[in-house]
Amino acid sequence: MLDACADHACCGRCAGAGAATAARIARRRLLKAAVFRPADAAAPAGGSRAGGSRAGGSRAAAFAACGDLPRAITGAVIDVSPHFLVLSHGTGQERLALTPDATAWRGGPLDPAAVRPGDQAVVRLRARARGVADRIWANIGRVTGTIIERTADGLVVDEGMTRKRQLVSIPPRASARIQVRFPSLEPGYLIDVIGLRRSGALEALVPATYQPAYRVRQLPAAGLPAPALAGGHVPDAISGSATWHEPGDEPPGIAGLGYPAVDPEARCAEGPGPQVPGNLRLPYLSIGSILLVRNDCTGSSCALPVNSCAAVGRLFNDRCVTCGTSPRSRVADLTQASFVALGGELERGCFNATITIGG
């Protein structure tokens, strides 16, 4: 049997720290505010970009309050009927109404009433009727990383130093579909697949992107020729692809995102990491930084804290094509709850997004 936990070294600064990470985020924001006190709320959007010296953002006014967004709930299905779904999560149970237009996914489109007790579900509620389920994903999972081993059991995938290694099995019915997008299922190549969680492994069903042609080892080290920036500056707003990741060691339902360019000094990423040709380098941030994330496909936006590293995200040079082609690759790796709340469809894997550095 493959050992997926070997070499897993999760540092406390990153994903998996759970409550400690939340405390750290709160603490850092307070301390930062002590040095740079928030200005008057009526500051102009885009008004005072202090460029290289900016210590925070100024564009919150242009973003909708997150409270206006649909809420997402994560939990285990306790009971289900044609009209109701009962979920159990960390703080208790929640009874949600199912309307005829609600939809579900468990490896494919499904009638919501066909969700089974025991399934781990992510449910998006309606924005204006919070007790009503709008969309249900059952047992959905995702693995993104570098293939490090291929055996008869499947693939062992490294998702980076801050996450556990994952086991991926590819059933025969999905093999052709996945190999169209991921022709090289060999060690050293990247993989990003969505599927169903079954006893600790992921049964891959849907390719989340297409496979880069390079092996990770072939990528040049960072710091060598930097890609051109628009006007020599890091733009205020950076458009690209927003993906999602499973909670892992994080509390289920946590809001936030993994950022591909967490300060290398935080010791939670693999140093500056390799530089993917053509990828725009993102400005360095830390756990606790705030990003304003906008779903360019739906217009929904929300301010979210960076609560984990997404070092693997910067290895990809893909584009999201949910609504048009994103101008560049991955700029944020959202938690399931945030991805769903912002209007993303988990089985699609990404949405076109614009991030702005917040306060």
Binding site: A26, L31, A34, D40, S48, A50, N307
Partner: protein, 330 residues
């Protein structure tokens, strides 16, 4: 020709080029961002409604004075009109110097905006010195007789050499030169630069800000350190008047003489658990626009309070950043 006269004569084209250059850079920033307030640092000192007109007026003044200096340099407008333009230029730079001093105290995170979005770094002593130098340069041109073109040949070397020398001095006083090199791709913007934490700590410990706070710091190593864009934050435990405090330093990430700011926070006001942010909520947690407002540094001479035996550092109410007790220093 006497050296003092040549020095005075050289100032006119120099001032005109600085004014027109600054105006052009501001206009370019405005056109690029389609905002009259873009990168015009000192306008943040004004109320919201006045920022746009003030930004436009600043740009207009620079253009008018720059063109005026050129037009009145010769026989046209000799005497009172020329002196009026030169006095106006001196006044502009004097006001600018005062505004930069104020900006440095109240909004140290904002650049001076002197050359549009080239001037994005915090206002430094160099920028202040440049502004004062230009004010003096404008003042010494008052009463200067009409300029004559330099004589060809060897005689032109002196004015041209003085012009070049003064330009070099101004370039040394201009952080915008570094920004220009970034635009040309010769160096990375600070947001992308990998800066070792050890270098930041070394720069901090060499600073006067550190020395002023060293007496209350009780640990050699920071208890927390993180980076956002061009700033790295370091938190040290300390004790002031028998109460535990935390000293927060923000260090701008550049090689030489980085800008450093500090604040002292009551340790009891900093959350020890995940209570400050509802990040475990299923809802997006940071939706309150107040939490992502632009940052401003309220003028508060705190260091004097530190030495005050009656220092009181009240606890923060709830988790609102705006309510944090703090004392600050630049």
């Amino acid at each position: 020709m006497l050296l003092p006269v040549v020095i005075r004569e050289v100032q006119v084209p120099l001032l005109a080029s600085m004014l027109l250059g600054g105006c052009a850079a501001k206009l370019a920033a405005m056109l690029r961002t389609r905002s009259a307030a873009a990168a015009l640092g000192p306008t943040v000192l004004f109320p919201m409604g006045l920022r746009r007109p003030v930004a436009a007026a600043m740009c207009g003044c620079e253009f008018v004075l720059g063109v005026g200096l050129i037009l009145t340099a010769g026989q046209i407008g000799r005497g009172a009109p020329a002196d009026a333009v030169r006095l106006g230029t001196a006044l502009l730079f004097l006001v600018a110097t005062g505004a930069l001093i104020e900006l440095r105290g109240s909004r140290p995170d904002v650049g001076c905006g002197c050359f549009g979005d080239f001037s994005t770094g915090p206002v430094s002593a160099r920028a202040l010195a440049r502004s004062a130098l230009l004010a003096v340069a404008a003042l010494i041109t008052v009463g200067l007789p009409p300029l004559r073109p330099p004589m060809p040949g060897v005689a032109a070397i002196l004015p041209l050499g003085l012009f070049a020398a003064e330009l070099a001095v101004i370039a040394m006083l201009s952080p915008e030169v570094g920004e220009g090199l970034i635009r040309l791709g010769y160096s990375e913007p600070c947001e992308l630069r990998v800066v070792p934490a050890a270098r930041t700590v070394t720069a901090l410990r060499r600073s006067s800000v550190w020395r002023r706070h060293a007496s209350i710091i009780t640990a050699a190593e920071p208890v927390d350190m993180w980076r956002e864009l061009c700033w790295r934050y370091l938190v040290y435990p300390g004790e002031a008047n028998g109460r535990p405090v935390e000293v927060v330093f923000a260090v701008f990430l550049r090689k030489h003489r980085p800008a450093i700011q500090a604040a002292i926070v009551d340790a009891a006001s900093v959350p020890a658990g995940p209570a400050g942010l509802a990040v475990t909520s299923a809802d997006c947690p940071a939706g309150d626009p107040a939490r992502t407002r632009p940052l401003v540094r309220v003028p508060a001479p705190a260091l004097s309070a530190l030495t005050d035996p009656g220092l009181r550092i009240p606890a923060a109410r709830g988790s609102e950043a705006a309510d944090l007790p703090l004392s600050r220093d630049l």
